[in-house]
């Protein structure tokens, strides 16, 4: 057993460093950016002339549709559509890119809901106090609302990130040789599926535990201002 664990380590770690981790980090970073834009589009009601307002309505519709679409369809199906389906209409991605596209759009859809509700949980009085001294909308948002909202959004965002790490195992189905795929390949050779899948499970657990620690650290940092009187 030890031999199997030791001999499989380099391959699984390599798969993790080459695919699982980059896929997770890049997709989360892109997804986070997408989610901020999506949340902003969905919650703001900018003033302006009629053309601008119509355009914004249209953007909102697209954002709503996007979030709905990705939340109501299985990620595995999305991967298949992008990687195996789209080539039919001439859109072809390398597997890794297809993975990034699906995972980041998925993360974006989920995180945008977290960010939206976090922003909406900040009391109206904060908007009013900041606006009343003449801050512009984006100043209120970036200086006052967002820093408070991110603290609220941190737990659900971390959940999304952790789910994402585990979901990258789905990428094996579109030919990406990430950790799960590698353990499958080894198991097919050594006939030790229980051991191999347990090993890879531990690797996932290690990554996710590290992320949980990171989450707790960030939660502490962003909550510094909540210290109470006398405490």
């Amino acid at each position: 057993m030890w031999d199997t664990i030791v001999s499989s380590t380099p391959q699984i770690v390599q798969a993790g460093l080459e695919f699982t981790i980059p896929l997770s980090i890049i997709s989360f970073a892109l997804g986070f950016i997408i989610s901020i834009f999506t949340a902003m589009i969905r919650i703001s009601n900018p003033k302006g002339n009629i053309v601008f307002k119509l355009l914004w309505r249209f953007l909102k519709l697209i954002a709503d549709f996007y979030v709905w679409l990705f939340r109501s369809t299985p990620e595995l199906v999305q991967l298949f559509i992008v990687f195996f389906g789209l080539p039919n209409i001439g859109i072809q991605f390398p597997a890794f890119t297809a993975g990034i596209v699906v995972f980041s759009l998925n993360t974006g859809a989920y995180c945008s809901e977290s960010i939206r509700s976090a922003i909406q949980s900040i009391p109206e009085g904060q908007w009013e106090a900041a606006s009343s001294i003449g801050m512009k909308y984006w100043q209120v948002m970036s200086l006052i609302i967002f820093p408070q909202a991110i603290r609220v959004a941190l737990p659900p965002l971390s959940n999304s990130f952790i789910s994402l790490v585990k979901d990258t195992s789905l990428a094996s189905s579109i030919t990406i040789t990430e950790m799960f795929m590698v353990s499958q390949q080894i198991a097919a050779k050594n006939y030790e599926p229980l051991l191999m899948y347990s090993i890879v499970a531990v690797y996932y657990a290690v990554i996710c535990t590290l992320l949980t620690w990171l989450q707790h650290y960030l939660e502490k940092r962003t909550s510094r201002y909540l210290i109470n009187r006398g405490a």
């Binding site: 904060q126 009013e128 001294i133 003449g134 801050m135 909540l226 009187r229």
Partner: protein, 244 residues
């Protein structure tokens, strides 16, 4: 000088302000009184454009607004800079330390240098008697202290008019006095202030003009002597009801 003409504001078809006409002088303290739900906050928030009435004219110094027309974002920001507001529930920014609560506006809105904004903020902290709290977070302070900080935040914008919406109604009476004494100081410096309050002592002491609002309408404007010494019908009832 502030001038309101024929201001109408409805919420879902119900008038909160009805044909308001009012002049407010510079360098005076104007006190707005009236029963709950009268429209006092709506009136004050209109001056800062946190509320935008459906119709009427609003003139503040060199700016004039016709509420029935489109108001540019630039003009809204200009007028807000002229009229900083102190809220009943103070609404400090909880994630920023006290000093930054005060300097955030001057730095980002007035484009002051950080050092100048901080120097000014420290000066204001002294003025309100809290010279040692600049490194703390708002929720380390008591309500009265937070309200004094929020006064600093408003004053740091060097507003032409400072608006106060029941600044002491969420505070204990002995703390209330601390905050009101700051307002007395500001009044003595001839700052232009518009104060919504239920505190009659304060009104008696400093009001240059008293505005009495009821049911969205102005029932009285005049000097404090007129208001308190010879109150007519409705005001008499209001004042009697306030007595013990």
């Amino acid at each position: 000088m502030i001038k309101l003409e024929h201001i109408n504001k409805q919420f879902k078809g119900k008038y909160a302000l009805k044909d308001i006409n009012l002049s407010i002088n510079k360098n005076e303290t104007t006190v707005i009184l009236g029963p709950s739900g009268a429209g006092k906050s709506t009136l004050l928030r209109t001056l800062n454009l946190l509320e935008q009435p459906q119709s009427g004219l609003y003139q503040i110094d060199d700016q004039s607004v016709d509420f029935s027309k489109y108001i540019s974002q630039n003009q809204i920001l200009t007028i807000r800079r002229m009229t900083a507001m102190v809220f009943q529930s103070w609404n400090l920014f909880p994630h920023l330390k006290i000093l930054q609560n005060i300097t955030e506006g001057p730095i980002h809105v007035l484009k002051q240098s950080k050092s100048k904004a901080q120097e000014n903020a420290r000066h204001l902290l002294k003025l309100v008697g809290l010279p040692d709290v600049e490194g703390m977070y708002p929720n380390q302070l008591s309500g009265g202290q937070q309200q004094r900080i929020s006064i600093c935040r408003a004053l740091a914008m060097d507003p032409k008019y400072t608006l106060f919406d029941e600044p002491t109604s969420a505070l204990d009476p002995e703390i209330e006095a601390q905050v009101l004494r700051i307002l007395l100081k500001l009044a003595a410096q001839k700052r232009s202030m518009i104060v919504v309050t239920h505190n009659m002592e304060f009104a008696k002491k400093v009001a240059d003009q008293i505005v009495f609002v009821e049911n969205g309408q102005i029932e009285f404007t005049g000097s404090r002597e007129e208001f308190f010494d010879e109150p007519s019908g409705r005001i008499h009832d209001f004042l009697t009801a306030m007595e013990l």
